[in-house]
């Protein structure tokens, strides 16, 4: 019988955190999807060996401090404007891998003009879109992607279409634009889901150097604090309620002929 100590030897390591993640403790709430997405972004950059060629652009919202966690050069944008920063960065430095990391308030509300026009122009950038249907950092207000009936601090009786309008399904909207090359919707609530999301991010990074247009990876996520659920319950709620409105899978993959 082999002892635990004998198993825990460097040569037996099957998985460890990517070296590209810094030692900083993430400020996110326990169970927050942001941490998992940060990790797979770090893994993709590390595995592709492109740390020196990558520029990240973080948003305003919970992930405003993304630059504290992945060891690459970062720009911190004004609310919603990350695609504008990315546009200039990529056009001025075409050899760089340029990605934005944005939440639903940032990308789908205040930043709709910037994201839609970056898509329409076919900017060769990667957009990682965290959609958890709520404003996390400001304390759980309604987001453009909040589901009908969903309770938030500014829809305390549930989102009512007459009062608040309907959820914005951004990925489907931009799929109609000729400048987008790859649009996919993923999640990170199970290990297989994380692996698929990571493959999608890797594909998006690879496409960004092929001059084929904008790649958009939406991650349907949880905000357990805002949703007032435990992390595990929030994952279940996401599967039951978010997935029907925001179904997981590829929406568009032009280089692959889809």
């Amino acid at each position: 019988m082999i002892s635990i100590e004998d198993i825990k030897k460097p040569e037996n390591i099957a998985y460890r955190r990517p070296a590209l993640l810094t030692d900083n403790v993430m400020h996110y709430c326990p169970g927050c999807s942001h941490g998992t997405v940060h990790k797979i972004v770090a893994e993709v950059i590390e595995e592709m060996g492109i740390q020196e060629k990558t520029v990240g652009i973080c948003p305003v919202g919970c992930s405003v401090f993304a630059y504290n966690y992945i060891d690459i050069d970062w720009q911190e944008a004004a609310h919603g404007r990350a695609p504008a920063l990315a546009t200039a960065t990529k056009r001025l430095c075409p050899d760089k891998y340029v990605f934005t990391y944005q939440g639903d308030g940032d990308l789908a509300s205040i930043g709709t003009a910037e994201i839609i026009h970056a898509c329409a122009r076919g900017e060769n950038i990667v957009v990682i879109f965290i959609n958890n249907g709520i404003y996390g950092m400001t304390g759980g207000q309604m987001a453009p992607t909040t589901l009908l009936g969903m309770k938030t601090s500014t829809t305390p009786y549930g989102r009512d279409a007459k009062l608040n309008g309907f959820p914005l399904v951004i990925a489907d909207m931009i799929a109609h634009l000729d400048g987008t090359a790859y649009i996919t919707r993923q999640s990170v609530h199970t290990a297989p889901a994380v692996r698929k999301a990571k493959s999608a991010i890797r594909k998006a990074f690879e496409y960004s150097q092929m001059g084929v247009g904008l790649s958009f990876v939406e991650i349907v996520s949880t905000c357990n604090s805002g949703w007032k659920l435990s992390p595990v319950e929030a994952n279940k709620w996401m599967v039951e309620h978010m997935f029907p409105k925001y179904p997981i899978g590829d929406i568009k993959d032009v280089p692959a002929g889809r």
Binding site: T54, V55, I57, D73, T87, A88, T89, R91, A113
Partner: protein, 360 residues
Amino acid sequence: MAEKILMKGNEAIAISAIRNGVDGYFGYPITPQSEVMETLMKEKPWETTGMVVLQAESETSSINMIYGGASCGKKVMTSSSSPGISLMCEGISYIAGAELPCVVVDVMRGGPGLGTIQPSQSDYNQIVKGGGHGDYHNIVLAPASAQDMYDFIDWGFDLAFKYRTPVVILADGIIGQMMEKVELHPMKPRRTAEEILKAAPWATTGKTADRERNIITSLSLDADIQEKFNRKLQAKYAVIEENEVKFSEYLTEDAEYVFVAFGCSSRICEAVVDGLREEGIKAGLLRPITLYPFPEKEIARLATQVKSMMSVELNLGQMVHDVRLAAGGKCPVGFYGRQGGNIYTPEEISAEFKKFNGLE
């Protein structure tokens, strides 16, 4: 002999950008400065110098493209006119807060609101006093000719990179639209990647093993850190105020009366001074070339020499407050202005001057 070409002030901005090694221009059409981007698109500098030119979806996006491009250590610029500049002020505040270099050209038109498309100088307060939120300054250069428009691009970028701060070229519809001879200086190449690393070691050029990651941000959240940073900014502004003031004077040596005017108004006031001199009135002109930093020491000196000063502006009295502050009550400071795109004649200013000084 250097090449001289007849062109509009707006065209001079575009040609100067190409010839002075600017890396990128990002803008949005608005009268009376649309010729800047039109000229760039016609010249196609991406085929010659490699300069990037892009028409953005809004002024908001343009200024944030500037933020992104400046973050990479590139020489990037935009241009707009008053209502568009209002939209850019958020971005300019972020650029000041992130200590990024850039050049913004404001070809002023009448406001408030959509206003008029004729010349004005009514963005003085907005640009010289800030415009966006927070304790920051733009370095503000006031061109008075198409040649200035050409020359100030290179000067502006020198200052922007020297101090890591936004520089605004505060022009007006007259300077933008007027055609004059412009002397072209020798071409300056765009910076190489190595030169950018040297000029902007703080830029997001890709994290290498020999340095920590570069983060461009204006966020601190911690009150003490923010206060410390703001004091650092103020210390930088003190150095700018000490070293970068620029002005020109016309017949002030023996002047008993001095006009203070910038941009197109200074050109008109030169004619006023000439007319008054012919009548035996010892008038002179101080033209601030930098509006921030403001030539307050020279105004203070002149205030002890003259009987009065008069600030002449295409607005309802904005710079005059800075002139009065600098004069420190040592002499009366009058004001004359027109608005809405109307422009004064030298005779009109002369009459107002005489009324103010009781010379009739």
